[in-house]
Amino acid sequence: MSEQPMPDWTVGAEAIVYQCCAACGNLQYFRRSFCCICGAPDPVEKRANGQGTIYATSLVCRAATAETRAHVPYNIVLVDTEEGFRMMGHGSNDLCIGDKVKARFARFADRLIPYFERAV
């Protein structure tokens, strides 16, 4: 990539970052050096505002490692962001599909992760 990648939560920075293709306008969340729709190189990295709508939820009650078990139950959520891409994060245990949410950042099993709460 021509530019340095913008740090996001996957590398411990308090940010959600996505990519936008300058050629076709496609938005993608998983970082790549090209657009996965048209193949154009160097999609532009942008910081998301952390707001979105709950698409799906699953409350994990059975975890597989000592580190994650310490957090049980934790709610895995899929969020349709205001910008238009979908992402996975954690959320309050009482979130419902369709809820408007906003991200903060939390610690989980020694990592920084996005944590969604109902927007007020």
Partner: protein, 378 residues
């Protein structure tokens, strides 16, 4: 043309002291004998993978262990769809004249060979290593997400999903090889421990030891003539974060392609073998495949439609949910049972008519799909 000429299946559950290769060998021997062949006649080998004993060349490890020197051999990996994907490849290999008899084999000591935590962790790695796995999801959580959305869009309830677990257990009661043979009720499923809500323990298939195999041949080797009518795949995504809308999942694409190739419609199908890693998987796939209208699969279960004596007998061995799930071999048991039904060898489980069967496998998080039609040729 290609025929499934022999099948082999071990009981699923605990096989203390058996390795993955042991279980593969046991199933392979059964399948080759069933086909009326000698092992030296096997000139192609396709195998799955073992999470307990991973190897970059499992097919040749197996061939050496089993004592054969095939002209064609490699492993295939598409998660739960692997068994049918291998069958599809075997069908094309014999049709193309590359080999005469392909042994399709898988087996794993997934229950006794590693801890349950290790199994859960290994399987969770189908998630994205940067954007999903650090969040601590499990396979039940990936499917729990899909379940929550499906229930929301189509008005399906947890009690509806429980019906599928009851059905599979009811069928398993009639198979001596099934891992579970105590009856369960909807109330039992509702009261079982939460795993990844809305999925509870009895909505999830177990972890099992076991092995399954079949032989796919260019010509029939006996009067058990079960032929591959048509098969097709569809792969829309890998990760649940990148999955398309519920109405655009791969099962619908794969079945449409397979129907066209086989020249049959759903009204021709007499027996169904459908992947059932979780109750939601089975509910969704039945509806995606057109075996029930949207949101109505559970009511078809309640009315007996998918029961052994119903209009569309489904997974009469008990499926992954109750026969068991040993990895790649898990869904291969569906094909073994289908073959027994099609050839009138299912004993006290025998259905009236299994002349045309539909099989469907799913890998990942509804990521990879294989649909296949088999026909009993008289």
């Amino acid at each position: 043309m290609s025929f499934v000429t022999g099948v082999g299946l071990t009981p699923y559950g605990r096989h203390e002291g058996s390795s993955s290769l042991d279980l593969m060998s046991k199933a392979a021997e059964l399948a080759i004998t069933d086909a009326g062949l000698k092992r030296h006649q096997i000139d192609g080998v396709l195998c799955g993978y073992s999470t307990v004993s991973p190897h970059i060349m499992l097919a040749t490890v197996f061939a050496e262990h089993f004592g054969i020197r095939p002209a064609y051999a490699h492993a295939v990996q598409v998660g739960g769809a692997t068994g049918l994907a291998m069958t599809m490849l075997a069908h094309h290999l014999v049709e193309a004249g590359v080999v005469q008899h392909v042994l399709v084999v898988a087996g794993e000591n997934r229950l006794t060979g590693q801890s349950r935590d290790a199994s859960i962790l290994a399987l969770a790695q189908v998630g994205d290593p940067h954007y999903e796995v650090p969040l601590g999801p499990t396979i039940p959580a990936y499917y729990g997400l899909v379940a929550s959305r499906y229930m929301h869009e189509y008005g399906v309830t947890q009690e509806d999903l429980a019906e599928f677990a009851v059905l599979m257990r009811t069928h398993a009661l009639w198979h001596p090889g099934a891992q579970f043979n105590d009856p369960i009720t909807v109330a039992d499923i509702m009261a079982s421990k939460p795993v990844a809500l809305p999925l509870k323990l009895l909505d999830c298939c177990p972890v099992s030891d076991g092995g399954a195999a079949f032989v796919v041949s260019r010509e029939a080797t006996s009067d058990m003539r079960v032929r591959v009518l048509g098969c097709a795949q569809a792969h829309t995504h890998q990760h649940v974060t990148a999955a398309p809308a519920l109405s655009e999942l791969g099962a619908e694409i794969a079945i449409a392609r397979a129907k066209q190739q086989a020249g049959v419609g759903m009204s021709d199908v007499r027996y169904a073998a459908v992947y059932d890693s979780f109750t939601i998987t089975l509910a969704m796939l039945l509806e995606d495949l057109g075996l029930a209208a949207r949101g109505e699969a559970a009511s078809r279960v309640r009315s007996g439609y998918f029961s052994r004596n119903g209009e569309m007998p489904l997974n009469t061995h008990g499926g992954l949910l109750s026969y068991g799930h040993c990895g790649v071999g898990g869904a291969m048991a569906h094909l073994v049972e289908t073959h027994l039904q099609m050839t009138g060898r299912a004993g006290n489980r025998q259905v009236r008519d299994a002349s045309i069967a539909l099989l469907h496998g799913d890998g990942g998080v509804l990521s990879s799909h294989v649909s296949m039609f088999l026909e009993r040729v008289r």
